[in-house]
């Protein structure tokens, strides 16, 4: 679909309407359903219960059981239903509840949804949206806390978005639904109750366009998903020390807007990439490699990556806290980068 509504700029305003991340997602989804009769939602407990994270609250009332479908616990069939329906012109939104569950339906995502257009010689498209909750921080342990964006971003044919706040959650969800490709919307569990200003009208945030969340001259911090908030907090801390951090939120990790990053690096000459996923083989590696390829001469220090250690997500809160990167580690990383030059 080409009806791109430009994302309205948000000017910080104390009296403006604020929504939680969950409500912003819900509003974007409802508006996209009103906009296009072909959009429907399927998943476990999404209709009658409104989703375990309340993402789908009230949608059954408005759209009825034709467009809000509770399914059995059958993720492979669920995603496959979406692939087949999308191939026949509908715009399914299928919900995977916890990102970890993609393990049981990866074939449908990777071998079917992602490759169908290509293998059909372009004869069809798969406008499928997969919504899911990722991330640690709730004591949900190793099988309910992963950030697997690198798995998905590695697969040609898929798009992956990681909204960092309510405003972005709404806009990226709308764009994901309007997009003619399979798009995975990775919502973050810890952010579900967070609030920000969210315009009431429907708007899409262009996929593949990074956002400069804060301007600064000393270090570029490229942060994915929930790490954007941590990076902004670290920037506040460093500002008090006279260090100006630029925070870039890629918003979409596939396709990845590297131009915005390169331009920033040319100004700051130092880069730190931070994500919740394990560092090894994570998107930080890809971003670092691309930056040194495109902007090596502008670097005053090697690109630094911060991510999780190479371990499953631990349960115990003391371990989980040590596991997930936070503002302190980001600030420390920035200081290290500055010391090197």
């Amino acid at each position: 679909m080409t009806t791109t509504t430009e994302a309205p700029a948000v000017v910080p305003n104390a009296t403006a309407r604020k929504l939680t991340y969950v409500k912003a997602f819900n509003e974007g989804l409802a508006q996209a359903m009103r906009e296009d009769e072909n959009v429907f939602v399927a998943g476990e407990d999404v209709a009658g219960y409104g989703g375990v994270f309340r993402m789908f609250d009230n949608l059954l009332d408005e759209f009825g059981p034709r467009r809000m479908i509770d399914t059995p616990i059958s993720e492979a069939a669920l995603v496959g239903l979406g692939v087949g329906a999308a191939a026949r012109g509908l715009r399914p939104v299928v919900d995977l509840m916890f990102m970890d569950f993609i393990g049981v339906c990866l074939d449908q995502i990777v071998n079917q949804a992602a490759k169908m257009k290509y293998m059909f010689g372009g004869a069809l498209s798969v406008p499928l949206t997969i919504t899911t909750a990722s991330g640690a921080g709730l004591g949900a342990a190793a099988q309910h806390s992963q950030s697997l964006e690198a798995w998905l971003a590695h697969v040609p044919g898929l798009k992956v978005v990681m909204p960092c706040d309510p405003y972005t959650a709404k806009g990226l969800t709308v764009s994901a639904i309007r997009d003619d490709n399979p798009v995975v919307v990775m919502l973050n569990k810890v952010l579900l109750g967070s609030t920000s200003e969210v315009p009431e009208e429907i708007y899409g945030i262009p996929l593949g366009q990074a956002h400069t969340a804060r301007q600064g001259s000393d270090v570029t911090v490229i942060a994915l998903g929930r790490m954007v908030g941590e990076a902004l907090a670290a920037a506040d801390e460093l500002a008090a020390e006279g260090v100006e951090i630029e925070v870039i939120d890629p918003r979409t990790v596939q396709p990845l807007d590297t131009e915005t990053m390169f331009a920033s690096v040319r100004r700051t000459n130092r880069v730190l990439v931070v994500h919740e996923a394990v560092t090894f083989g994570g998107l930080g590696a890809e971003i670092a490699a691309q930056i040194q390829d495109a902007a090596f001469d502008h670097l005053d220090a090697p690109v630094l990556r911060i991510g999780a250690p190479f371990s499953p997500v631990p349960f115990s809160p003391v371990l989980e806290k040590a596991y997930v990167p936070d503002r302190a580690r980001i600030a420390q990383g920035c200081r290290r980068l500055l010391e090197r030059s």
């Binding site: 219960y49 399914t71 616990i73 970890d100 342990a141 099988q143 349960f315 003391v318 040590a322």
Partner: protein, 333 residues
């Protein structure tokens, strides 16, 4: 005459022993769970807690038919299975608290409790995932020439997932010593059985794999035990897998203690099932037929209460894991 009488006495003694055994296992689960629920409500436990209360007769009935070297795989609702299989209460509470003395050294939490010394191959956060693992454990037993069996527990909802169907067919075609135990509590999260399958009896699914099945009253520990003993015996003798469907009910919410949102089950329905509390049923029978006195039963509750209190104190005073050991056990060797 005299001979017959002594045979009766033996039979009576055996069943009295079984009843006491079932009772004790159920009381342990009930108290472990209700106390865990209170700790959760008090904000003392991190993470998720899927309570098993109401379903005790299934875990107790099956586990009383198993040996220590028999293996089980469990679900996200796994405390009852672990307690009934004999996993230590201290290690279990310590795990719920995220302590280093826990069953998973604080790494796993409620949904991943395991204990190899008790043949407990793990609770599981992924619905259906335990089914093929039990099939593998049974394969290993036969491969090694051992006569242990494997039991896999799963809910009605889990039988909609591929791993269940593939595991059932695999066990059947390889003729493995696996007992499939479906704890049909009528709901998958908040969706009633009628909303996720068109069958009334999950046991019908066994037929698709050429597997015999039996349906039992999952609130009646003796009935579950009898069915389990048969199925286990059958598997142990090399006759292959079998499915038991136990019709049961969970008294608390899917997760946590009380429902967060609009009710998905009626108060009447909950009350009806609670009126058939599996522990009450067994106690009433035990007292009526003279197997145990009320005082003896009360004594089990009291002893268990003391043990639980001690286990919670142990968990609360246990050390936390050291973040320096974050990479512990990611790999072997």
């Amino acid at each position: 005459m005299a001979q017959k009488k002594s045979a009766d006495a033996v039979a009576h003694q055996v069943s009295a022993q079984v009843i006491r055994d079932l009772h004790e296992r159920m009381v342990r689960i009930r108290l472990f769970e209700t106390e865990a629920g209170k700790l959760m409500e008090a904000g003392k436990l991190p993470g998720f807690l899927h309570l098993y209360v109401g379903q005790e007769a299934v875990a107790a009935g099956v586990m009383a038919a198993l040996r220590d070297d028999d293996q089980i795989t469990s679900t996200h609702r796994g405390h009852g299975h672990a307690v009934a299989k004999g996993v230590g209460l201290r290690e279990m509470y310590a795990e719920l608290y995220g302590r280093v003395t826990g069953a998973c050294l604080g790494r796993g939490g409620s949904m991943h409790i395991n204990d190899l010394t008790r043949g407990m191959l793990g609770a599981n956060g992924i619905v259906g995932a335990g089914v093929p693992i039990a099939v593998g454990a049974a394969f290993a037993a036969r491969y090694k020439g051992e006569d242990s069996v494997a039991v896999t527990f799963f809910g009605d909802g889990a039988t909609n997932i591929g791993a269940f169907h593939e595991g059932a067919n695999m066990a059947a075609i390889l003729g493995l010593p696996v007992v499939f135990v479906c704890e049909n509590n009528g709901y998958a999260e908040f969706t009633p059985q009628s909303g996720h399958m068109l069958l009334t009896d999950v046991a019908d699914r066994a037929a698709a794999y050429g597997m015999p099945s039996v349906i039992v009253d999952g609130m009646d520990a003796l009935a579950v035990h009898r069915a389990a003993a048969d199925a286990v015996e059958r598997a142990r003798s090399g006759a292959g897998p079998m499915m038991i469907e136990a019709k049961t009910y969970r008294f608390f919410d899917h997760q946590g203690v009380k429902g967060l949102r609009h009710p998905y089950r009626s108060d009447e329905e909950v009350a009806e099932w609670k009126a058939r509390d599996p522990i009450d049923l067994l106690e009433t029978r035990a007292v009526a037929d003279g197997t145990a006195t009320r005082a003896e039963l009360d004594d089990v509750w009291q002893r268990t209460r003391d043990e639980i209190a001690e286990a919670i104190a142990y968990a609360e005073t246990s050390p936390l894991p050291d973040p320096a050991d974050l990479l512990l056990n990611v790999y072997s060797g």
